[in-house]
Amino acid sequence: MKGIREYTDVKYISKLKMKNKYKAIEELAQVFKDSPVCANLDELVTALIEREKIMSTGIGFGIAIPHAKIKSVKDIAFAIGISKKGINFDSLDGKPVHLIILVAAGERQHKDYLKLLSRIMSYLKNEPVRQRIINAQNSEEIITQFDEE
């Protein structure tokens, strides 16, 4: 499998303004607009929100990983959303989320999907890495962090 950097792009990074978790997901998903990742953005947003409603993807440590596997996604990819103020994500540890990794995968990309989620999780468990990403000055700096995975 490729490095996780290969699944994102500087264009898929966004500083989030929304404080509501569903709105924040919708806001972050917009980075895929006009990109080859997803042919139907509305479908993606709906799937992400529905999934979020079943069980929170806020896994603690200030991170949330909303994810969805749908037909209209051609290539598996993830977007990175930063919220300095933090978003209430009903996380496991109850703390606000500052870093959202939004993973979108195609219906038949099951194995890559699980591998990518697993690698993102293990990489972001590293506290200094997490802090460097959240406190980065610009998108290039964030991407550089993933280059170092």
Partner: protein, 628 residues
């Protein structure tokens, strides 16, 4: 008081008791010299007796099938000698009325035979021999054999442009079956000798023992080289051919002039001929399909007179101008090979023969397609080379192309590349053109298979309810329905289930698969242990995922589906079990079918089933069976 008859009975009973005692003593080896005793013990201990019996029965079969084929061949030749206008015109000329009337009379007799013996008439063709071997333990009643000895003689003797091999195979296998009935052999042996008899008859009729063996393997045994009938097939083919040569003479059917096999640069042209032979074969199938459609579906003519007489009338009229179309056509082959037929006539004859061959078969005449294929091949090959020479100034030898074309059309029309090569080799008794013959035969065969995707015999058998499409593999699983084998104890969870809970269920599941349903209880997909290994290894994912995240789509079967459909899907998707749903649209799970259960059922059926292994259940396929 004991009367005269009573005393006779006592005497008879007494002598029987003495005979029985002698027999018992003989079996025990009493009164035998030591050497003979040891020999007898060795004989009884080993299974050599079975081998000896097998060889003897194969020899007898060769004699039976060979003799019947010789009779068939002799009668057919005699009919041809008197009725073929080619033979007659050489003497004193034949009036067009007679030429016209001969096939019509033949048609009338054959239609009458079909009308009077409809059940026997239905058993025609090689396909019915294969059916008898597969589903009837090789049982062919003697009356069927006798009917198919005479009906083709009349049909072909009076001009139908068909060949003797279909009827010969029928007669040979009928003799195998008859012999097995006389000696009261068991079902397995009867099946074996019935199959072997077909090959023996082909060997005798064509003076081609190797082709006879391969005909048996390729056609009757459906390419099963491991079949135990193989040795019987070889022995009986050899004996039948020896008998045929002894009684009919070591004659050659074809008179081949001196020819040039050409050079390696001719092979592109052979490739072209191979493709053309394939196209010709496909044209023949298309013509058969077309006429079948007209006679069976558009006109709906069931009456044998209505079907056959108009065809013989048209044929009779055409025959006045093109008498080369009469009968099997070996005379025509010799005339063409010796350059006595113009190329333009040859092309017309090729088309007419192809059309009438298809017409006669569909109309209800009796005969096969081997010999007509040889004729078509000669016409095609000869005209192809001549046309190439004319337009492209090449120097292809039309005789070589004609000989090679025989194999091409034979392989294409009958889906028998090996038999085609060997039959042409044996009937021409010439090895020089073997390479282009092999090349053209296989190209023609592949061209036909490319379009039809299956052999002509598997196609014909499927129409009658027998599925041999999987290269003769036994389609036992096509006989049982999913509902007969499904289990109702299966694991199904909501797609909302957290992965942590799902993991517990998955670990406790016997099959390693858990089905996932939506809020309406409809199937969404499956979570299988091997698919989620990654999620289990990475403990971090346990709190992130729910069942819906790791569900993968799964194929389904309905209760009415055949188990063969289920196993195909299980193999394609590489899964351990497949959910059974109420219907494709509703997707409510009613059970599960596991790979293991299917294999267990298959093994049980394989042991139990010997006879009806190829039967297709029409009702479960939703197809229409023959005669329905």
């Amino acid at each position: 008081m004991i009367g005269q008859y009573g005393r006779a009975n006592i005497n008879r009973a007494g002598s029987m008791t003495i005979r029985r005692k002698r027999y018992r003593n003989l079996l025990a080896g009493e009164g035998l010299p030591e050497f003979q005793k040891k020999l007898r013990e060795l004989y009884l201990k080993s299974d050599i007796s079975r081998y000896i019996a097998h060889i003897i029965f194969s020899l007898i079969l060769g004699l039976f099938a060979g003799f019947a084929s010789v009779v068939f061949y002799y009668l057919l030749n005699t009919a041809g000698r008197y009725l073929d206008p080619v033979n007659a015109t050489s003497k004193d000329g034949v009036s067009p009325v007679i030429i016209f009337i001969i096939p019509v009379i033949g048609g009338l007799i054959v239609a009458t035979m079909t009308r009077v013996f409809p059940a026997l008439a239905r058993e025609k063709g090689v396909v019915n021999v294969i059916k008898a071997v597969i589903i009837n333990n090789g049982l062919i009643p003697l009356k069927v054999t006798v009917f198919h000895l005479f009906a083709p003689i009349i049909s072909m003797g009076f001009g139908a442009p068909l060949g003797p091999e279909g009827p010969a195979a029928k007669i040979g296998s009928g003799m195998g079956s008859f012999m097995s009935q006389i000696f009261r052999l068991n079902q397995r042996d009867m099946r074996m000798y019935t199959a072997a008899g077909a090959g023996a008859a082909i060997a005798a009729v064509f003076n081609a023992p190797i082709a006879g063996v391969f005909f048996g393997i390729e056609v009757i045994l459906l390419n099963d080289l491991k079949n135990q009938a193989l040795s019987a097939l070889i022995i009986s083919s050899v004996v039948a051919d020896i008998l045929s040569r002894a009684l009919l003479g070591n004659h050659h059917i074809f008179h081949i002039p001196v020819y040039n096999t050409g050079s390696v640069w001719d092979f592109p042209f052979f490739l072209g001929l191979g493709i053309l032979c394939g196209v010709c074969s496909l044209g023949f199938f298309a013509a058969r399909g077309f006429f079948a459609d007209i006679l069976d579906r558009k006109l709906r003519w069931k009456n044998p007179y209505m079907r056959l007489i108009p065809v013989t009338v048209i044929f009779g009229l055409v025959l006045i101008k093109y008498h080369h179309l009469f009968g099997i056509g070996y005379n025509s082959i010799n005339e063409v090979l010796n350059g006595r037929v113009a190329v333009t006539t040859l092309v017309v004859l090729l088309l007419l023969r192809l059309v009438f061959m298809a017409l006669f078969l569909e109309a209800g005449a009796y005969g096969g397609t081997f010999a007509p294929s040889l004729v078509l091949g000669v016409f095609l090959g000869y005209s192809f080379a001549s046309i190439m020479n004319y337009f492209f100034n090449t120097s292809l030898d039309p005789v070589t192309f004609a000989l090679v074309g025989m194999g091409g059309v034979l392989a294409g029309v009958n889906s028998i590349p090996l038999t085609a090569i060997l039959l042409v080799f044996e009937v021409t008794n010439d090895y020089h053109f073997i390479l282009p013959l092999m090349f053209v035969s296989i190209i023609a065969y592949l061209s036909m298979i490319y379009v039809h995707k299956e052999t002509v015999y598997s196609k014909e058998l499927r129409k009658t309810g027998i599925d041999v499409s999987r290269r003769g593999e036994v389609d036992l699983l096509g006989k049982i329905k999913v509902q007969d084998l499904k289990k109702t104890d299966f694991e199904a969870i909501s797609y909302r289930t957290p992965f942590r809970d799902l993991l517990q269920i998955l670990m406790g599941s016997l099959s390693g698969d858990v089905f996932v349903v939506n809020d309406k209880n409809q199937l969404v997909g499956v979570v299988s242990l091997k698919e989620v290994r990654q999620a289990i290894v990475s403990k971090d994912l346990v709190d992130l995922l729910i069942a819906g995240d790791i569900t993968v789509p799964v194929p389904v079967v309905t209760e009415e589906d055949q188990v063969s459909v289920a196993i195909k899907k299980i193999e394609t998707y590489d899964i351990e079990s497949i959910p059974v749903v109420k219907s494709e649209t509703e997707q409510f799970i009613t059970g599960v079918l596991t790979h293991q259960d299917i294999l267990a059922a298959y093994n049980t059926m394989l042991n139990a089933c010997e006879i009806d292994q190829f039967i297709v259940d029409y009702s479960s396929r939703g197809e229409t069976g023959p005669g329905q």
